[in-house]
Every structure is written in C-alpha cells, then in structure tokens.
Amino acid sequence: MISLLLILIPLFTGLLTFFLKQEKTAKNFSIFSSVITLGTVCIAIFFAQNNQLLFNTQWLPALGSRFSISLDGMSKALVLLTAISFPVVFIATYTNKYKSSHSFYALMLLTQAGLMGVFMATDALLFYFFWELALIPVYFLSSIWGGEKRIAVTFKFFIYTFIGSLLMLVGILYLYFNTVVPSFQIKDLLAAKISLKEQNILFWLFFIAFAIKMPIFPLHTWQPDAYEQSPTAVTMILSGVMVKMGLFAVLRWLVPLFPESAKTYSNIVIALSVIGMIYASLIAIKQDDIKRLIAYSSIAHIGLMCATIFTQTVIGTTGVMLQMFNHGINVIGLWIVADAIEQQLGTRKFSELGGLAQKAPSLAILFVILALANIALPLTNAFVGEFLMFNSLFQYNVWVAAIAGISIILAAVYTLNMVQKILYGNTVAATEKALDTTLNINWMLIVLVVIVFALGVYPQPIIDLTKDTVNVIVQNR
C-alpha cells in the first residue's frame, strides 16, 4: 500500500499544482510535496514490512493486465534516487524564474509520478504506461521552457523514444500471447514458452527501446542536444534519473526475459557500449560548453554500466546497481554547478570563463569534489561502483576491459580540463562580477557531497538494498 502512495503523492500534488497561480506557492508546495515523498520512501525502505511494499489490484481484467507494483531491492535504490533528486533539484533551482511556473512544477511532479511507476511496475502493460507517462511531461517541459532550438531538439528526443517504446510494445504483445495464462505479470512472462528464434527477435525489439533511452551508441544522437536545450532543472532529472530507466529496464525486463539471447548478443552489446564510451569521451574533450561536456561524459558512464550488465556476474551487477545511484547523485551535482554558473554569468562556455575560484570559493570546492567523483577517484562513491564494474569486465574479457579502461583516462582529461578552465587562471571579464553562490545551492551541493563521501567510504547500505535482486537476476539464467 505504501508503494502506491509513492505514485499517488506526486501525481495528485502535481495535478493540484496546475491550479496554484502564485509562483511562490507553487514552488513551496512542490518542494513540500517532494519532501513528503522522500519521507515516505525512507519509511518504506527502512521501516516497512515486505508485504506492505506490494500492491496488486484489478485493472483491465479482460486484457489480463493488473495494476501491480512492488518495491523490491532493485527498485529501492532507484526510487530512493528519484525521491532525493526532486527536492534537491527544486531547492537548488529555487531562484530560477519560469514563466507560468505553476505549470512547470506541476509537470515536474507528474514526471516524478511516472518515474516512480516505471521503477515499481511488475506488470508489462503498466510498465509501458508509466514509461510514456514519464516521457510526455518532459516533452512539454523541455519544449516550453528550453533554449532557443528547443522545439526541434525536444521533438527529436520524443520521436526517438516513442519509436523505441512502440517496438517494445510489439514485443510485450508478442510475449503476452505466449504466456500460459493470458497475463502481463512479470512472473507469467518469465514462464512464457518462446523458441530461441523468437527470443532473439524479441530481444532486439526490447533492446532498441532501452538503448534509445540510455542512450547507447549509435542511438545516442538525441541526447547531447536535448540536455543542452532543456531547462537545467529538467536536464538534471533527465540525466540523473531518467536515463536510469533504460538501465533499470534492461536489468528488470530484458535480461531475465531473454537470458539466452542476452548471452548470445552480449558481445555485440558490449562492443557497442565500449565504442560509445570511447567515442563520447573523445567528443567530450573537444567541447567548449559545460552542459554538452557533461552530456557526453554521461554517455560514457552509461555505456560502462550497460556493458557490465551484459557480462552477467554478481559483482558486476552489484556495481551497476551501486553506480546507477551514484551516477545520479554526481551528475545532478554537476548540473547544479553548471546552472549556478549560467544563471549568474550568462554563459556556459569555458573560453569565456576563468578564475572563478577566487570569486566563488565555496562553489569551487564543491565543484572540484563533484568533478573528482565524476572521474571516480578513490574515496568518492563512483570509485566503488566503477571498480566493481571493471572487475567484472575484466573477468569477461581482458581486452574489452583494457579498451574500456581508456575512458577513465579520457574522463580525467576532459573533467580536469573543464575544472581548470572555469575555476583557475586569470579572472576574465565575465567572472569579474561573479558572487559566491546562494545558500540554497550550497546546501544542496553539500548534501550531495556528503552522499558522495559517505558512499565512497561505506557503500554497504546500497549494496544491501539491492543484494537480493542481484542474486535473483544472476541466478535466473
């Protein structure tokens, strides 16, 4: 029952926010709502009994679809990430001005409802519904409040994802007809009798949908543009939480449903992921825009996670679970910094920035820590995850691990280059008038940095959360 609340709270507060005409009320109300959600998530994860985390009721009996959600180990980490991100994003961007801001916050909360649903649904049709419900508000958010090329860019993003999800729908329908009893429940789909040939076709139908969302090379072209053009608050959600939908779906649906195909095609998928990692890292080096750099760096990180999933080891899957959470925290931190710089100085280009550390010391310290976490330095959270993942890749194939390892070096190159150009050197005209960041932003960055260090030193809580499901996923094949 408590899991249902996690969807209902953002859904209803979101709908309510449409009618709050006052900007301040809408802002405060959405922060209030997201904090309540966070509190509910904490209660659900740390105090609730397991049977309270399930919710299962009739929805479309004639179609064999049930409204069934469950907060199991795998979803716990991501639901927690979703619940943390929204208040952080709302508070950090508190001073940003949006025209008709009540609609902005309403759509953000609706996105949260969709994300919660995606991470908890255990019915394929319901999963598909939430998958789209999370997409549509983002389409409007980015198209209305985005940058100057927003309409075309967001549309590209939408069409890409929509094609993917339609292919997934075809796959779901096909599976549905091969279940023993007509049903969309994941346990019935797992028991479906399908031949190896069918499995191979269905694998690609699902994989394309998820690969677009992650994104995996060569389906990534929507991503840098969309990240750049969306309003930064939306970009934080997009890259912090939404891309995890793709990874999560691979773990929850793709690998368990088609274990043989996942093994057969693991080399192709891993090759694509590794190519994407190197490719995105190389492009990131040449970027002159903070947002685009983070976007490409994000492709590289996601590529590593996707490759590791297909090595199918316990240690690797644990690493992916951990890293999905950590990457969300780190990347949201970086976006907050990018947004703070852009809001104050009106530019995101390194070439126009420099010497910011002298003007904004507290921002500089926090920025450096987050940048180091992005490179996965020891003591930061990303180190643990990346270590586990590389360990698993190494077991799979030494050469793959070696090539993928280059991306770590490249990550250091572009991240440090960015830090250096923005923070150090002589102050230029643009940074001359810079002030240190506001309290909101600092506090939110401090929260994130605390999580970075805490999980860097002691990642066990997240590992414990996901341990059961990791074993289920890996043993299932």
């Binding site: 789209e132 549509i136 729908l169």
Partner: protein
C-alpha cells in the same frame, strides 16, 4: 429496426421543420431532440422493445455488434450536434435540410450495420452516400465546395458501379442475393458456385468498392480534395461516422470470406494496409493546412482500421468498435475547434494555448489520442488492432505490426505540429468567440477520451449485456 425507422422519420421531420420555422436555434434544438429519441430507440432495441414489427424477409439481421455500432454513431452525432450544431446553421440558408440529410446518412448507417442481403448493402451505401454528396456541395457559392461535390459524386458513382457489378457477379454465381449464399470458409453453400470464377471476382469487386468508401489506398484519391473542399462542419461528419461504418459493412460481409478472394488475399490485405499507412502518413507530413493534414491522417487511420480484415477475430471486432469511438470522438473534437479558427494553416494555431488555454488543452488530448499515446482512448484502439494481428498470425504478423507502429511514430510528427504551434510558438490566433457550454462539452469529451484510455473495457462490456 427502431434505428432505421426513426432515423428516416427524423429526416422527414427535419425537412418539414424547415417549412414551419426559419429560426436556426429552434431547428438545431429539434434536431438534437430527434437525435436523442433515435438514440433511445436504438437502446430500447437492446432490450427487445420494438416500435413496429416488420417482416424483413431475413434481408436484415440485428445483433449486438451492429446495434452497439449504431449507439456509437448516434452518440458521436449527438456530440457533433452539440459542439458544431451552431456552425451547421451557418453554412447556408437551408438549415433544416442539412440536419435532414444528416439523419438520412444515419439511416444508411443503420442499414449497413444490419444488412443480411447484398441488395441491402447496396441500398445502405447509396442512402449513406447521396446525402453526403449534397452536404459536400452545401456551400453553394464556394467554388471549392462545388468542385469537391462533383468530384465526390463522380468517383462515388463509379465505385457504386463497381459494387453493383460485384453484386451482379455474386448473384450470377449463386442465384440469390442473401449473403449466406456467398460461400465462406464456415459454410460451403453451393459446390458449383464455389468452383466458379464468378464468386472470387464478384467478391473482389465488392471489396474494391468498399475500400473506396473507407478511403483506403489505392482508392483514396478523392479524399483530400473532398475533405478539403467540403464545408468543415460536414468534413467532420464525413470523416468519422460515415467512414467508420464502412468497416462494419466490411466485417459483416468479409468476416469469414477473406479466403474466398483467392490465394492472393494473403498478399492483398497486407499490401493495402501498408500502402494506406504509407500514403496517408507520408503525405500528411508535408501538409501546410491542418484541415488537409486531417484528411490525409484519416487515410492513415483507415490503414490501422484495416487490420480488422487482416486479423478477423474477436479481438479485432472489439477493436474496431473501440477504434470507431476513439477516432470519431477525437476527430469531431478537433474539427469543432478547427471550424472556430479563421486560419486553417499550422501557423494559424500559433499561441492558441495563451489565448484559449482550455480549448488548447482539449485539442491536445484529442491529438494525443489520434497519435495513440497511452492514457488516451486512441492508444487502446491501436493496441487492440496490433493485438488482434499478433493473435491471428503470430510470428508472421510481426513484420506487419512493426511497420504499422513505425508509421504510428510518423503520425506523431504531424499531430504534434499542431501541439507545438499551440504551446511553443508565439502568435495571435484568430478564433471565433466561443461560449461556456462549448468549452464544457469539449472538456467533457476530452475527459471521456482519457477515461476510455484508462478503462477501455468499460466501453466494450457494453457489447455483452
């Protein structure tokens, strides 16, 4: 039977109303009341309450499926009257006649949902079509309207000719007009007729004529000009109810007879589906006028509805009903808004969300429904069609289904252009003033579409009571 009698009577009543009063509001309200009576009469039929007992000599047969489609058609028309009734009265001076013609179209619809004889099929199609030809030309002083009417009439007569030829051949094969004497996979009536070339040829002719009526490619050429040229209010009606009923006629005749078209039927139907989807979707992408875009999109939607012929199972029959509801409701809503606009191009919609937020929101829901986005009725409509295809042919249908969903993604492109214009672009759209009741009905319609999108089975349960 109630529906046929009442709709014909309704038409006559409307004609006479024109003699007694010229007051447009009175005429409109009489039309709405008559339609309500028609709807009630049809619902009474469900419970076995008849107005008259007529011996139809088995030329008509009534079943829940047809009656339910009648209910859909009449409800859609009611919504159409409520939303666009005032605009119908603005087309020309013969206000009562327009309503009368619409009732005659509904009479044709009722015949087509119950025919059990090829002559009745022919009569139904003619009763349906002739009023539509007149309505297309209703804007007498407009050259485009005249051109459209002439085109529609010529092409329509041509297709009727083909239909008659087909019926004649079938009659030649069996010596009987009853559709039971047309051989089907379930009943092999006459061995002689079965072996004869007349049956497949006759069926093929009827098939082509019906494809023409539902605007499937390659018999779609009349659609864009006619839909564009006709007064917008009537395009709305033509594109929804008059078109959806074509599929019902298709099901009654071809449900068990697709195979009788000969071995090529397995190629013909996928070919027609893909061609229809291709032409409808790709051409719609390049349109500058929303009205013309809707004409092409209606071809594209027909492509999806044609899946009913491909699958021929219980899911597809349920699906076509759901599709008719979803498609008719959304299209009527979009046209009701389009009629109010001064400029029919995409630019004409620029900035509508600022000026009329409620209308823009409703329009968005209608467009999302046509595009088949989840949470709207249109999603389940498409869903049922795809589901039925996979059920019918399993793995062999997979490629067709994948092609269809890719075209559905293309359709997002042109439907979303309207949303983009309304929400993301600046402009000052010229829109006729609308009263509160218009907005309320529009929002109620949008709410119904979302409700069906969440619980489609509520609508379909109707079929089984």
């Amino acid at each position: 039977m109630n529906a046929i009698i009442l709709s014909a009577l309704g038409g006559i009543v409307m004609m006479f109303t024109g003699i007694f009063t010229q007051n447009k509001i009175v005429i409109k309200n009489i039309a709405i009341i008559t339609l309500l009576l028609l709807l009630i009469g049809n619902l009474l039929h469900f419970y076995g309450i008849y107005m008259l007992h007529v011996d139809v000599k088995d030329m008509l047969q009534f079943n829940n499926f047809g009656l339910f489609f009648n209910t859909i058609a009449f409800t859609s028309t009611l919504i159409y009257f409520l939303l666009s009734g005032t605009d119908i009265t603005k087309v020309g001076i013969n206000v009562a006649e327009y309503f009368a013609l619409i009732f005659f179209v509904l009479c044709g619809v009722s015949i087509l949902t119950s025919f059990h004889n090829l002559l009745m099929l022919f009569l139904g199609i003619e009763i349906l079509s002739i009023p539509l030809y007149i309505l297309t030309g209703a804007d007498k002083k407009n050259l485009k309207s005249n051109e459209a009417a002439l085109k529609y009439f010529l092409m329509g007569s041509f297709s009727t000719g083909i239909l008659l030829m087909g019926i004649a051949l079938l009659y030649g094969a069996s010596g009987n007009f009853s559709i039971e004497s047309v051989p089907s996979t379930t009943s092999k009536v006459a061995e002689m007729a079965n072996s004869s070339i007349l049956t497949p040829l006759g069926l093929l002719f009827v098939f082509v004529a019906l494809l023409f009526k539902v605007s499937a490619a390659p018999f779609h050429f009349w659609v864009p000009d006619v839909y564009d040229g006709a007064p917008s209010v009537f395009t709305s009606f033509m594109a929804t109810i008059a078109k959806a009923v074509g599929f019902i006629a298709f099901i009654f005749l071809f449900e068990s007879r697709i195979a009788e078209l000969g071995p090529s039927s397995r190629i013909i139907i996928p070919f027609v589906i893909i061609l229809t989807l291709l032409i409808g979707n790709i051409t719609a992408v390049f349109q500058q006028s929303v009205k013309r875009m809707l004409a092409y999109s209606s071809i594209a939607q027909a492509g999806f509805m044609l899946f009913v012929l491909y699958s021929n199972n219980d899911i597809s029959s349920e699906g076509i009903l759901l599709y008719s509801v979803a498609y008719s409701f959304a299209t009527i809503g979009i046209f009701a808004i389009l009629i109010k606009m001064k400029d029919y191009t995409f630019e004409g919609y620029n900035g509508l969300a600022k000026k009329e937020p409620l209308i823009a929101a409703a329009n968005t829901i209608f467009l999302l429904s046509l595009a088949g986005i989840p949470l709207t009725a249109g999603f389940f409509a498409k869903y049922y069609m795809l589901l039925s295809a996979i059920k019918a042919n399993g793995q062999n249908a997979l490629w067709l289904v994948i092609v269809a969903v890719l075209f559905a993604a293309v359709s997002v492109y042109y439907y979303f252009r309207v949303i983009q214009a309304m929400y993301f672009k600046e402009g000052n759209p010229e829109i006729a003033t609308t009263n509160t009741s218009f907005k309320v009905i529009l929002l109620a319609l949008a709410a119904i579409i979302i409700f069906i999108g969440l619980f489609p089975t509520v609508v379909l349960n109707f079929l089984y009571f």
